[in-house]
């Protein structure tokens, strides 16, 4: 393979204190006992640095659930990687934050589920919102880049303006407005999460206005959900082209969802080197190049831009990992996405709960609405 990977996604655990309904972890979570050791992760980072990777993204589950996180960050930093921590913030106080920054943490990205406490806790399935606010204040005392990650969907998009104003007061350098993608738990809960046309149109206008207002102070990154787009996303920058993900048990994947694909055998860092896996393994080679593409992708002028979209989404919705991602308007199976969007916009679709005094009340009102993410054994 003539190009090197740019970034390592270190999915260090599937343990998490929250139960967010939009979680994109696989529904089959890696058992705690299967997790790699500190030394095994240090070896992964060392190899990543030698392979020329620039970034390490610490994620999970909740990466803070690993007691050795500071050592892991130090190992990645030593290997020359820029370190990003993608976290809910639960498990982090000022003292622990200091140890992580001292260990070499470059960037922390904290998720927020909503601007209002009851709704935020309802989406996360746990009392987490107040702690996140406190943590955001603590972060500003340290020399580390700070991004707020706001996951948006049907249940909170009506408050987008309010949520952006709320985030502005937290004073991050960057905001990611992340429309939910449908993998893992999010796919199971798709009907409750899919926004309406009206919500999306309004969101685009609100974000454009906020970008102007924030120019030079806060950078906004936002992506339109692919179900509503004309063409599919270039998922992960292409299969095996830019990123490698190592899961808690050491399995090496081209993305967080790939284990759903049948007929593929993924390698493990306990057995093979990252370099060999990147360059030689059948799994990483499977969807590189264009030979695997069916029509219309094979002769499409966009094929080198979006690579026919997401293989995992093609499998999850169509049952065939080689199919054109049905999010693409040119896909033979585009009707699968169209009908999900249609349902979201129909009168019979999911109603939103009325205001309640606490998130427990909201949960009681909406018992059948969705499935909360569980924890691994």
């Amino acid at each position: 393979m003539s190009f090197s990977p740019l970034a390592l996604i270190a999915e260090i655990t599937h343990r998490c204190p929250l139960h967010c309904v939009y979680c994109s972890n696989p529904m089959q979570l890696a058992a705690t006992q299967s997790e790699l050791s500190t030394e095994q992760w240090a070896s992964v980072f060392g190899q990543s640095g030698k392979l020329g990777m620039l970034h390490a993204h610490f994620t999970g589950g909740e990466p803070l659930a690993r007691a050795d996180l500071a050592e892991l960050i130090a190992a990645a930093h030593k290997a020359g990687l820029y370190t990003n921590l993608i976290t809910s913030g639960i498990g982090l106080n000022d003292a622990r934050l200091k140890t992580l920054v001292d260990a070499g943490l470059d960037h922390i990205q904290i998720s927020f589920q909503d601007s209002r406490e009851d709704s935020a806790n309802w989406i996360a399935g746990a009392k987490s919102h107040a702690h996140k606010i406190e943590l955001a204040r603590a972060v500003r005392r340290y020399k580390v880049a700070f991004t707020v990650n706001l996951v948006v969907h049907r249940q909170n998009l009506d408050r987008l303006e309010e949520m952006i104003a709320f985030i502005e007061r937290l004073d991050p350098e960057r905001v990611e407005i992340a429309h939910t993608q449908y993998y893992g738990w999010a796919l199971a809960n798709r009907a409750a999460l899919m926004p309406t046309h009206a919500q999306l149109e309004k969101a685009v206008a609100i974000v454009a206005e906020a970008e102007k207002r924030f120019a030079g102070r806060i950078r906004i990154d936002s992506v339109v959900p692919d179900y509503y787009a004309k063409y599919p996303k270039a998922c992960m920058g292409g299969w095996g082209r830019k990123l490698m993900l190592v899961n808690p048990a050491g399995k090496v994947l081209p993305c967080h969802a790939a284990e759903v694909l049948p007929g593929l055998s993924f390698e493990n860092v306990r057995e093979k080197s990252l370099e060999w896996i990147w360059r030689e393994s059948a799994s990483f080679r499977r969807f590189r190049g264009e030979d695997w593409m069916p029509e219309p992708c094979r002769s499409c002028e966009r094929r080198s831009e979006d690579f026919g979209g997401c293989r995992c989404q093609a499998f999850l919705l169509v049952g065939d990992a080689t199919a054109t991602d049905p999010a693409c308007s040119l896909a033979p199976q585009h009707h699968l996405v169209e009908s999900a969007v249609g349902e979201a916009n129909s009168e019979a679709s999911v109603a939103q709960p009325t205001a309640a005094s606490s998130f427990v009340q909201l949960q009681k009102q909406t018992g059948d609405l969705w499935t909360y993410r569980t924890n691994p054994e």
Binding site: H55, K143, G216
Partner: protein, 95 residues
């Protein structure tokens, strides 16, 4: 956000840093920041290497005007100002 003043002291923003230098050809250097990296070479690199939070914008311009004696000094000033403004918008540089 306005362009830098002569008295501004440009520096890399919090969480933005140079990639550790690798062996071999050092003409390119990378700056790493949240979710990204940019490759810098030539003048871009020379400008950013001087954005140490100590040197003023005026001093940086003067150094580079001396270095590139053949080029119109006003063009150097305008180009560097635009360059830094773009990086400021991306939150890579502060001044």
């Amino acid at each position: 956000m306005a362009p830098p003043l002569d008295s501004s002291q440009p520096r890399l923003a919090a969480g933005c840093r140079w990639a550790p230098s690798t062996t071999g050809a050092d003409e390119n250097r990378m700056i790493l920041f949240p979710e990204g990296a940019i490759k810098l070479q030539g003048t871009g690199r020379q400008v950013l290497e001087r954005c140490d939070g100590q040197r003023t914008f005026g001093e940086i311009i003067a150094e580079l005007q001396k270095e590139f004696g053949q080029t119109d000094p006003e063009k150097i000033r305008a180009d560097i100002s635009t360059f830094l403004e773009q990086l400021q918008k991306k939150r890579i540089v502060d001044y």
